[in-house]
């Protein structure tokens, strides 16, 4: 094994060597790369030695004496990994900057080498003064590298950095000398070995100064204005180095080392600074429009998070390296990748990134990086955050946990907004924004590959097992490779895959899983039939859709909290990508993903609180959660799941997301995805039962929430002019019913909820498909612009007719079954008041359903629609399947429900239903779907046949013949009364429709943005101000430290 000191030697040596290579730029460049490669090779060898062979950490002594008289270097697995990271980062940047380096010549190359070398030195050394030297070297190299960029503003940024580094070096030197005075050594390990008594008084202050000086290099908020200026203006490849290697690896590792001395008393300080940075930076990033500055803020935030982890290492124990490594590497790879990506673009606004559109590989890279930063599975940060959160909750450090999750949500907010810009914003066609040099592309794409490699690695190291081994997930990811195939082939593959998976796995499902599994796998296959209508390649659709289905599939079989949560995240991301595909869905997809992630974080917090450090935490163990925290766990999980079911108050994402999605996506996200929330609630309620908090029974609150959702969701649906929005609001109402059923906490209530699960899947998918088909043909979703389509689109009409009869719960179709069970269920329950809301929401549903069918299909045909045809075959086919399914389910609901009923009975003391014969009986009443169907069908058929017979000679009248006396009215479009359809209703109950909830969330958003916009003014751009801020920061931290 090569001695690690050669890493430094090669770096420095090559830098000197370059000095002799005047006028030989190519050779100089080759030497630079060769030096970096050989440094990387040494680091990699050591890493393998430590990681695979389990080698022991080694000390490298220089100058033949022991410390403190000589410097010692220390090499363990962390050092090796970080050095490899730093060197690779440098190597990639060097490749990336090929043209720039060739232009600027050997001096710049040697500066780059010195920079990388000094970072390695910072990582290796165990001597505080040596640390100072390497830091100063890094500063000088930074100041040199900043000149790489042609942007003139960079000079100012560099100068600001020099001002700061002057202050830092003063603090550091003073700190070092007093630390030496107090301890008699410059060696970190020696100092650490001293008794804590030496750190009293002057020693403590000395340590504080050293800590703050090095902390400044990690760019904590608020002493970091200079760093942001550098991030914004420097060459992106340098920013990548500056963020990933210097702040994210070297500086934080130096802090980590220093903290060996400070022992545990300084950990809270580091945590607090980290948290402040993480929250504040992500908040301020919300209002940025410049891409690199945004990345800079994100970088500050991420480093803050790493500091938090470092500050929490007293509770992390053996997980420390795994957690901090996961977060650190995720940040480094993702941030460097994003900076390199930003170098491909010549414009600096976030919206200009729409130029990436049409380059699936780059978008894939971007998505991977963003997912990595936000801690989404399967990336290392996900595993790390999970473990971190679990341990924090176990130690009752809930504030830290909460702040981390909030800041992560903020971060997800602007990163996903950015992603929305890429996918949705107009491209500026006249300008060539994107330049795709092959070496730059290679760097970016190999970074993306590395990100997945790390994902695999962290999965392997995880105690929970590797998420990447899950078959559904692999299936979904494999479609990334198949994306070049025609859409129809991919569609067939997806359907075949999902059906086959269901066939293989259904024997292992219990009845509850079977119902959900059938909907998730078979149900989505039916919807996918509609996707055959799309020709072309449909890039990105299948990976997203299958990712969502993979999440759903994994959700129902998840045994422990970790896998449950991972599946939850998968389905959230997949559905987000799907929703984002809609033409105008950018803002809605954003609010969807924010609400979903917010909900997911609540779930995460809930699990963490429940687990109390137990890992893995089986879902059944929710039942054993002890009293004082159990209701809180319940509350967190319930709100998390209810976010997905769009309970009123958390519903504002749903209408837009469902309405703006593509024709075949709306049924997926409405008919299928919403059920995930119900499944979660079932798991929760089944295991935790009733809980009460401060004397309030939480299921009772849920009952009210469900009732309110049913009532208000339906009421809002009544006043929609947009057909798909109407259906979307209707989903809120329907989910309210289901939630209500679950919250009743009796067997019939649950049965009703499951009935709604099945029914809602069938009829909402059907309705969304027919409306989608109609919108496709008419080119509008506004119902008042349609009318009289019954003759032109009879099959769609039949689907809608059957659908609305079913939704409204009118016998004989299956919706009635749900209502019947509902009445039986509430008779068993002692809660009466919330029922009223449910009672009234039934008839209200009738209002919007009638409107749906009337304004689209009945009345007068609009002139512009005279030529339109029936919806495409492939959109109609699933609808007809649903019609048949509805009929079957209406007549023999027992096929599915009796098994569930039997399965549920052990969980509740109350009685289930009796399914003998064709009549279903309960304790209170009875219901025979078969005879209802027969009676109604016979009367109906008789009357219909008679009417047809007596009027067999009747002719269809022309459109305006009767009412308008065969005169064409002046404006035919006014002949169909359809706009503002329920005007009296709005007059009477419109006051309930005030958008309080929307306004509340909008105000929250505005408030956040205003705070961010106000507080960022604090960065005046003046280097002196930054200096003063740094000093003030140091003083304030010291005062706080003294205070506590």
């Amino acid at each position: 094994m090569v001695n690690a000191i050669f890493i430094l030697v090669i770096g420095l040596g090559a830098a000197f060597l370059l000095g002799f290579l005047r006028d030989k730029r190519k050779l100089a460049y080759v030497v630079t790369l060769a030096a970096l490669v050989s440094m990387a090779w040494i680091a990699a060898r050591w890493l393998l030695f430590f990681a695979v062979d389990g080698g022991a950490r080694t000390e490298i002594f220089t100058a033949g004496t022991l410390p403190p008289f000589a410097i010692n270097l220390h090499l363990g697995i962390a050092e090796a990994a970080l050095m490899l990271l730093v060197i690779l980062c440098g190597l990639f940047s060097a490749i990336y900057m090929q043209n720039t380096l060739m232009r600027l010549g050997r001096r710049m190359m040697s500066v780059l080498l010195v920079f990388v070398m000094s970072l390695c030195g910072i990582i290796l050394t165990r001597d505080v003064f040596n640390l100072f030297v390497f830091f100063e070297l890094a500063v000088i190299a930074t100041a040199g590298l900043i000149l790489l960029c042609e942007d003139k503003r960079t000079f100012a940024a560099g100068f600001k950095y020099l001002i700061i580094s002057q202050i830092v070096s003063i603090l550091l030197l003073v700190g070092i000398i007093f630390a030496y005075h107090a301890s008699g050594s410059l060696n970190i390990d020696d100092m650490a070995a001293m008794s804590s008594g030496t750190l009293k008084g002057v020693g403590s202050l000395a340590f504080f100064l050293m800590l703050m000086a090095i902390m400044t290099e990690a760019k904590p908020f608020p002493a970091n204005g200079w760093a942001l200026d550098i991030y914004e203006s420097a060459h992106p490849a340098f920013s990548a180095l500056f963020s990933a290697a210097m702040a994210g690896a070297a500086a934080v590792y130096a802090i980590d080392k220093l903290l060996l001395i400070g022992a545990s008393q300084w950990l809270p300080v580091v945590t607090a600074i980290g948290l402040l940075s993480f929250v504040a930076a992500n908040l301020l990033a919300l209002v940025q429009t410049n891409d690199r500055r945004t990345l800079g803020y994100s970088s500050v935030g991420q480093v803050g998070l790493i500091l938090v982890v470092i500050g929490q290492r007293d509770i992390l124990g053996e997980h420390y390296l795994y957690i901090v490594g996961g977060i650190l590497l995720s940040h480094a790879v993702a941030k460097a990748g994003l900076y390199w990506l930003s170098g491909l673009l010549s414009q600096r606004k976030l919206t200009d990134w729409s130029a990436l559109r049409g380059h699936p590989l780059l978008i894939f890279a971007f998505v991977s990086f963003v997912a990595m930063l936000t801690g989404l599975p399967p990336f290392p940060s996900f595993y790390a955050k999970w473990d971190l959160v679990m341990l924090l909750a176990a130690e009752n450090r809930l504030w830290i946990l909460a702040l981390i999750l909030i800041a992560t949500l903020l971060e997800a907010g602007y990163l996903f907004r950015w992603f929305g810009y890429i996918i949705k914003r107009e491209k500026e066609t006249d300008k060539q924004i994107l330049s795709l040099a092959s070496h730059k592309l290679a760097v970016v794409l190999s970074t993306a590959v590395i990100s997945w490699g790390l994902a695999y690695l962290w999965g392997e190291l995880s105690a929970h097992g590797n998420l990447l081994y899950a078959l559904p997930l692999l299936f979904a990811l494999s479609f990334l490779l198949l994306d070049q195939l025609p859409a129809r082939i991919k569609n067939s593959l997806s359907i075949a895959g999902m059906v086959a998976y269901f066939m293989v796995s259904y024997p292992t499902y219990d009845p509850l899983q079977l119902i959900f599994g059938a909907i998730f796998l078979l149900g989505s296959s039916v919807i996918l039939l509609a996707s055959y209508h799309v020709s072309g390649r449909r890039v990105g659709f299948y990976p997203s859709a299958l990712l969502m289905f993979a999440g759903l599939t994994l959700l129902i079989v998840a045994k422990d909290a970790f896998h449950f949560f991972a599946a939850w995240e998968f389905l959230t991301i997949g559905s987000y990508f799907l929703i984002l595909r809609g033409k105008h869905s950018e803002p809605h997809a954003l609010s969807y993903v924010i609400f979903s992630l917010g909900g997911a974080f609540l779930i995460l917090a809930g699990f963490a609180l429940a687990a109390q450090g137990i890992s893995p935490f089986p879902l059944e163990s929710l039942a054993q959660v002890a009293k004082p925290i159990a209701p809180w766990v319940f509350l967190l999980l319930a709100i998390g799941f209810m976010t997905k079911t769009a309970v009123i108050g958390l519903h504002i994402w749903l209408p837009g997301a469902h309405a703006e999605a593509e024709t075949d996506v709306s049924p997926m996200v409405s008919g299928i995805l919403l059920k995930a929330g119900l499944f979660g609630l079932m798991v929760l309620l089944m295991n935790m039962g009733k809980q009460s908090l401060y004397g309030v029974e939480l299921t009772y609150v849920m009952l009210w929430m469900g009732a309110l959702s049913a009532f208000l969701g339906n009421l809002m649906a009544v006043f929609q002019e947009d057909a798909k929005r109407l259906l979307a609001y209707s989903s809120i109402g329907q989910m309210g019913y289901a939630l209500f059923g679950l919250a009743l906490m009796n067997q019939l209530g649950w049965l009703m909820a499951l009935m709604f699960v099945i029914n809602h899947y069938i009829y909402k998918s059907m309705l969304f498909l027919s409306i989608g088909g109609i919108a496709k043909r008419t080119g509008t979703r506004d119902m008042y612009k349609m009318g009289g389509l019954i003759a032109l689109m009879p099959l769609s009409f039949i689907a809608v007719l059957i659908g609305i009869i079913a939704v409204s719960g009118v016998p004989p179709l299956s919706g009635f079954g749900g209502r019947w069970i509902f009445y039986n269920a509430i008779l068993e329950s002692e809660y009466r008041l919330p029922m009223m809301l449910i009672f009234i929401s039934g008839p209200i549903a009738f209002l919007y359903l009638f409107r749906l069918i009337h304004t689209i299909f009945l009345g007068q045909l609009k002139d512009e629609h005279r030529q339109i045809k029936e919806a495409p075959f492939w959109i109609l086919l699933p609808q007809m399947i649903y019609v048949v399914a509805l009929m079957i389910f209406a007549v023999v609901p027992g096929l599915a429900m009796r098994h569930v009923d039997a399965y549920l009975s052990p969980f509740f003391e109350g009685q289930g239903l009796n399914w003998e014969g064709f009549t279903i009986t309960s304790h209170y009443g009875y219901w025979s779907p078969v005879s209802i169907m027969i009676v109604v069908a016979v009367i109906f058929a008789t009357l219909f046949a008679w009417l047809l017979f007596v009027n067999r000679k009747a002719q269809k009248v022309k459109q305006f013949n009767i009412v308008y006396s065969a005169e064409r009215p002046f404006r035919p479009e006014t002949t169909h009364f359809a706009w503002n359809f329920f005007a009296p209703y709005r007059k009477a109950l419109g006051f309930l429709m005030q958008p309080y909830v929307t306004r509340f969330w909008e105000t929250m958003m505005d408030l956040l943005h205003s705070i961010a916009d106000l507080s960022r003014r604090f960065y005046t751009g003046n280097g002196q101000t930054y200096g003063i801020q740094l000093l003030a920061f140091v003083v304030i931290v010291y005062l706080f430290k003294m205070e506590f």
């Binding site: 030297v133 100063e136 002057q166 200026d229 003046n1022 002196q1024």
Partner: protein, 118 residues
């Protein structure tokens, strides 16, 4: 004596920082920083000084055997030497930047270089 030097050093540091953060002329900021650096050097040397001992140079006056009790700890002085050299490097770099900045804008007023902010 040590305390006098130390206090002087700290006063110089504070004065330097004050000057660097209040003077808006870039050159004057650099000048102030160099004053602060001098202050740091004084502090460093003062901390390492032990009353009544001689310089850490082994010559006829200080036999090797007695070195450990008769000379001053050489480490801080080594640090100061390094710090001075590094300080020169940084000061030079700052001056180079100052010159570049002047070339760009024709002014040395730091407040004029705040396009990058927020």
């Amino acid at each position: 004596m040590v305390y006098v030097a130390m206090v002087t050093g700290f006063i110089l540091i504070l004065m330097g920082l004050y000057g660097a953060l209040t003077n808006s002329n870039i050159l004057r900021m650099i000048v102030a920083f160099s004053v602060a650096n001098t202050g740091v050097n004084i502090v460093l040397v003062a901390v390492g000084y032990i009353d009544g001992r001689t310089a850490p140079i082994l010559d006829a006056a200080v036999p090797v055997a007695e070195a450990a009790v008769r000379i001053i700890d050489p480490v801080p002085q080594a640090l100061v030497l390094t710090a001075i050299v590094i300080g020169l490097g940084v000061t030079t770099l700052m001056l180079a930047y100052a010159y570049k900045l002047y070339e760009i804008k024709g002014t040395l007023d730091i407040a004029q270089f705040s396009e990058l902010k927020w």
